[in-house]
């Protein structure tokens, strides 16, 4: 499963800031944000396919990505270590420095 995954555990990734017209499940608050790969979930079907009845798609690798609260919300009042995670498919992610 990890062999098919482009991003390694701990890799820094940026979520694409696309705003496509079709269905997807990438929350707006994560788009354009940099996070860290915390788990590789293997390959799972794409909501971009399933929403339109394409149930025989190949799917794609999906990751649990950790975002620092302070990166998401500059006025975040809690400690630096607080985190939000989201499960995001590979095509939404690009390498980040």
């Amino acid at each position: 499963m990890s062999a098919q995954s482009k991003f390694a555990l701990g890799a820094r990734v940026r979520v694409r800031s696309d705003d496509p017209p079709h269905h997807h499940r990438t929350p707006r608050f994560t788009r354009g944000q940099v996070g860290t790969v915390a788990r590789q979930h293997g390959v799972m079907p794409l909501p971009e396919d399933l929403a339109y009845g394409r149930t025989s798609g190949q799917g794609a690798p999906i990751y649990r990505v950790h975002f620092r609260q302070k990166d998401l919300w500059p006025d975040y009042a809690g400690p630096d270590g607080d985190i939000v995670s989201a499960d995001l498919h590979e095509h939404w992610l690009e390498p980040a420095p």
Partner: protein, 211 residues
């Protein structure tokens, strides 16, 4: 006003048959879709019935049993945290799909949400509470989790990291709360009785048993 109860009349609604409100648009849509899928052989009526039965049987008591087992059986706990789906199949549950159990520790407090809709680990916790589906909870817990948890009565020290897991895909999450002090030597069923729904979502912790 109260009156002596030697009834020869009926209170409104007391013994009246339940009113059928009539099917709404979504119910009609569901019925039409279900009948078509059955007719085309994609699903069966018995399959739908079994799925409803399985969902109705699930309740936070199921999650509580899982947690009590994890607290008393280190091998099960390790398996649960490594791959909850497989561990639960061995525990007698049907196929779980992709399922992850998140362990709360003194250093890390986990809480789950679905900001996009209302994804919830229904096969182990039953149906979600109304607040879990509310816009207020879904939008606020990813933005100011500590304030939200405080409103639930949970005041976490800054030394505890708060990790909010947003269920944005087909992966379902459940929280394994910390075992409270003063529960050494308690039986698995007694421990399960201490575990309640909100502790499995992460908006509460399990309190020590009252003396």
């Amino acid at each position: 006003m109260s009156h002596p109860h030697d009834h020869d009349h009926d209170h409104d609604g007391d013994h009246a048959p339940p009113k059928d409100e009539g099917a709404g648009d979504y119910a009609l849509l569901e019925q039409a879709m279900r009948e078509l899928l059955i007719e085309k052989g994609v699903i069966t009526a018995d399959g739908v019935r079994r799925m409803i039965e399985r969902l109705d049987e699930a309740s936070p008591a199921t999650g509580a049993r899982i947690v009590a087992r994890a607290w008393t059986d280190p091998a099960f706990k390790k398996a649960l945290l490594d791959d909850a789906g497989s561990a639960l199949s061995a525990f007698g549950f049907g196929p779980m799909g992709k399922f992850i159990a998140l362990e709360n520790t003194p250093d890390t407090h986990n809480v789950i949400v679905c900001t996009l809709c209302s994804c919830y680990p229904r096969f182990v916790l039953g149906f979600p509470p109304d607040w879990y589906k509310s816009t207020a909870y879904r939008s606020r817990v990813v933005r100011e989790p500590r304030a939200v948890l405080q409103e639930f009565g949970l005041d976490l020290p800054d030394s505890t990291r708060v990790v909010v897991s947003d269920s944005t895909a087909e992966i379902r999450y459940m929280v394994v709360p910390m075992r409270p002090r003063g529960t050494e030597g308690m039986s698995e069923p007694d421990l399960a009785a201490l575990v309640h729904r909100d502790a499995l979502i992460g908006t509460a912790v399990v309190a020590p048993p009252s003396p």
